[in-house]
Symmetry: C2
Subunit: 235 residues, 2 copies
Amino acid sequence: MTNEATKSARKSALKPADRRAGARAPASSKPKPASNRAERAAERRGAIIAAAMDEFIARGFAATRLDDIAKRAGVAKGTIYLHFKDKESMFEELIRTAIVPLVTRLWATPPQPGASVRDMVEGFAKTFIEEVAATRRGDLVRLIVAEGPRFPEVADFYYREVVSRGLAGMRALIELGIARGEIQHKNLARFPQIMVAPALIAVIWQSLFSRHAPLDALEMFRVHLDLIFGERRTA
Amino acid sequence: MTNEATKSARKSALKPADRRAGARAPASSKPKPASNRAERAAERRGAIIAAAMDEFIARGFAATRLDDIAKRAGVAKGTIYLHFKDKESMFEELIRTAIVPLVTRLWATPPQPGASVRDMVEGFAKTFIEEVAATRRGDLVRLIVAEGPRFPEVADFYYREVVSRGLAGMRALIELGIARGEIQHKNLARFPQIMVAPALIAVIWQSLFSRHAPLDALEMFRVHLDLIFGERRTA
DNA sequence: CATTTATGACTGACTGGTCAGTCATTGTCA
DNA sequence: TGACAATGACTGACCAGTCAGTCATAAATG
């Protein structure tokens, strides 16, 4: 048709890259009729986020290529820029959107009124180790440790949303334990970091040394709790 | 995929220009007079290592530019290649040469025969916190945590030379403590990581959060020791 | 309902800049 | 002076970010 002719006339002089229509075709055979436009956009955004997560975790910020993220997400590179301003803000937003549900999940521990402080801490640690240390989320923590100094905003956000809240909560728990007589060491409330330390060790260990020597993180944490609450277990 | 292949291909199919690095070695065992020339070469090498250290710590492996290292070392870029095969092996060698003296220094703690196990551990921690956590060396540890997964050889080396030895030594100390009756928790010997955990926390904290909230690492460690050895201090 | 027009999500070739690694040339010591 | 050390301009690969063009879908129209 005339239309056709005019259209191709303009750009036409180049490579046989015009089977454009065909190029997109392979995807067309997909059995996915994601009808709504907004839906598809959201799907794509999600795919980009997941892909970027994997790539950043595997390679770090600087060594990650946007081409690889695009390829992994099944999307053209330009599409990424429809959702994110640039690589850096993508990284920052990524971390933020990943941390929120993580924290939410961790604080979703059922606060059973009858439970001892030790049980609460142990349950918390169990969740953390199972949901974070033993999974890809753990690498997220390592990624923050790795890139934090170069992304002050990420470090700020992480401190504000995770570290300071987490430590405050832990301190409250410790004080409760002291008040109830479960914990003898009053000074512990001054350094809630101590309570949490083995959990962080576990995360790092999984990433770096699990292939050298596996670590039973939960068992380690229980031993640690024995130090704080006194021996209890028989295993 | 093509990218990946090309990249590694390039790497392994290098030109035979590599005996550079090896050429340096023979000098060491030779009865060569410490000429002005050799001295200067060693000096330059040291300057390059120091500069590279700073840059890698500040920016991470991928984002560090050799031009910057050269400039900081007061040397032309080509000179770097007289001492190191390429960026990657420079990084690995760097870590190795930095770790050895670090470990040496740490194990140089005077083993006073009359000291209690607690004193020994505390002295050790004091050295570590003062010499590592509070200095640029601490960032080296963070650097290893950050880049370890991408440099398996570095992680291997670190595990072999630092982690496994350190833990073995700590375990021996714990067992001594148990034998002497200073430590009640026998299970602690199964997880020497627990003894060390707050020290690692301190390193990470200094790098990421010291500007949000300063941490008295030594005091924290003392409180931690109170958990293990029982209260002792009056502060 | 069928057809035309408008929209904007999506694409990927392309650009401009960056940087690891090279090597012909220049400098320096023994 | 001969041998080796040092230099830094240069090369080629690589990659973040752009934008002209495409096309499926939605809105408007008859």
